[in-house]
């Protein structure tokens, strides 16, 4: 990724089943330097493949991308109002995920903390 400056992040995934009936998708995002407030460079999103989980699967992937975009804008020295646009959208996705699933867990919980930290820094909170 360091040699590919136009690449935001790398993603790879696996679909695994223990019983041949229910399948889980594991999506791993490598953020590199864009991890910023995250403890690790890799975020893993784990979700069952079911029609009722479609919205959560979509939104959890979107959340990672929005965070990466916000941190990319920050690292490029973009003005705060631009960074705020990505963080605003990310906050909305956190809310949608929590509405459907209850509180976030695993790497998504860590991502939420990172987004909140970025928001606090941006707003100079109080």
């Amino acid at each position: 990724m360091e040699n590919q400056r136009t690449v935001l992040n790398l993603m790879r995934g696996s679909i695994i089943s223990d019983d041949g009936l229910t399948y889980i998708v594991y999506s791993c995002f490598y953020l590199g330097k864009l991890r910023a407030y995250l403890p690790h460079e890799v975020i893993t999103v784990e979700l069952p493949i079911k029609s009722t989980e479609f919205a959560n699967t979509k939104d959890s992937h979107t959340l990672v991308i929005l965070y990466a975009l916000a941190m990319d804008a920050r690292s490029l020295g973009y003005p705060k109002d631009r960074i705020a646009l990505f963080l605003k959208a990310a906050e909305n996705k956190i809310s949608d995920l929590e509405r459907r699933r209850g509180s976030l867990s695993g790497d998504l919980a860590g991502l939420k903390r990172a987004i909140r930290q970025a928001t606090t820094e941006l707003l100079g909170d109080q």
Binding site: Y23, I49, K50, S51, T52, F54, A55, K58, P79, K80, D81, A84, L85, L87, K88, A89, E91, N92, K93, S95, D96, R99, T119, L122, L123, G124, Q126
Partner: protein, 357 residues
């Protein structure tokens, strides 16, 4: 009885709203519903159901609405994007202010529907734009300070719906949507084709003629989830036509649904507050609720700042000095704490900052 309207293959035909609107200055709006993406025939039947749902929302005999033409598109958009919806809506034969489009996809054990609303640039070409909010503050020297804002959102995505299994089974049949003998069901007389004549529309059923057969379509509930899509679209139409009471009703229905995306909740609050401001009430409560939900939303902050100015104007009219002082103080605080959300050279915000100078 409404005169029959024919759907012609490869052309867009309107379900026209007749009779004069009670909003004399606001033009009727055109809502375009193109063919949905996804496996056939199920995506087609889902689209037809949504189209009928919108038709019922605007043309039901039980509760006639005025001011919306709903256009049935035979073809899909060029791609799954708001830009493609805008392009299709700008065709001379369409000229739609709004587009409701969708994507149906199989996902593991079920079928998921994603619905989108695109508000096109054509709304800015209307002679009258009730949704545009201007606050005017006269001063003692006879001059005025004016600040204005357009609507906060143009592109919306609704909560994805998982189709009920019964609906999937029925809509996968090649015959499609059945035409019943009575408004309440009964014998199946035939099935809906591509050419449809609308005869009567009610809240719970439509009387149609298709493939030479006259019969009733009873629309199933697509999902066990309650969708906010039709209420939101109807609320937008009423907002854009300046029907403030109607707008408040529809966005109240949207907000009563616990299962809506957060950005829709925020904008529904903003539209509710806007409708109140337009009728002389303060919308500040709604704007503050939206701000509590997401402090990074620039549109929310814009509306909140304008409502604080409107509060100052209202307090001045009442000669309420205490209220004026409180409103000015809160306005100053809000400007200071939200500056970061606007670009350094943002002319709108610079005007806001100049208000108290």
């Amino acid at each position: 009885m409404m005169p029959p309207t024919r759907l012609i293959k490869h052309f867009i035909v309107c379900l026209c709203c007749l009779s004069a609107s009670n909003l004399a200055q606001a033009e009727p709006l055109r809502i375009f519903v193109p063919s949905f993406f996804g496996p056939k025939p199920i995506s087609q039947h889902v689209r037809t159901t949504i189209y009928f749902g919108l038709s019922q929302a605007f043309r039901s005999k039980d509760m006639p609405e005025k001011g919306a033409w709903i256009l049935y598109g035979i073809d899909e958009l060029n791609e799954q994007s708001h830009d493609a919806a805008i392009t299709a809506s700008s065709w001379p034969s369409v000229r739609a202010d709004l587009a409701v489009w969708g994507l149906v996809r199989r996902y593991d054990d079920g079928v998921v529907v994603q619905l989108f609303l695109t508000i096109t640039p054509l709304i800015r070409e209307r002679r009258v734009r009730p949704e545009y909010w201007t606050v005017i503050v006269p001063d003692a020297n006879g001059k005025t300070f004016e600040i204005a804002r357009d609507i906060p959102g143009l592109y919306y995505e609704f909560e994805p719906l998982t189709l009920k299994k019964r609906v999937v089974i029925e809509y996968e049949k090649p015959e499609g949507i059945p035409l019943y003998g009575s408004r309440y069901g009964g014998e199946i007389r035939g099935y809906l084709g591509e050419i449809i004549y609308f005869l009567e529309i009610y809240d719970d059923a439509l009387l149609l003629q298709s493939n030479g057969v006259e019969g009733w379509v009873r629309l199933p509930k697509l999902s066990s989830q309650r969708s906010e899509a039709v209420s939101f679209v109807k609320g937008m139409v009423r907002l854009l036509r300046g029907d403030w009471r109607g707008c408040l009703e529809d966005f109240a229905a949207v907000l009563s649904n616990a299962n809506i995306p957060q950005n829709l909740r925020i904008d529904a609050l903003l539209y509710t507050g806007l409708a109140k401001e337009k009728t002389g009430e303060s919308g500040r409560q709604e704007f503050e609720r939206a701000y509590q939900i997401n402090r990074l939303d620039k549109s929310t902050v814009s509306y909140l700042l304008m409502s604080r100015i409107a509060d100052i104007v209202r307090a001045r009219r009442r000669n309420d000095e205490k209220r004026i002082d409180v409103s000015i103080h809160k306005f100053r605080e809000a400007v200071k704490s939200t500056r970061v959300l606007f670009a350094e050279n943002d002319k709108w915000f610079q005007k806001i900052e100049s208000f108290l100078k």
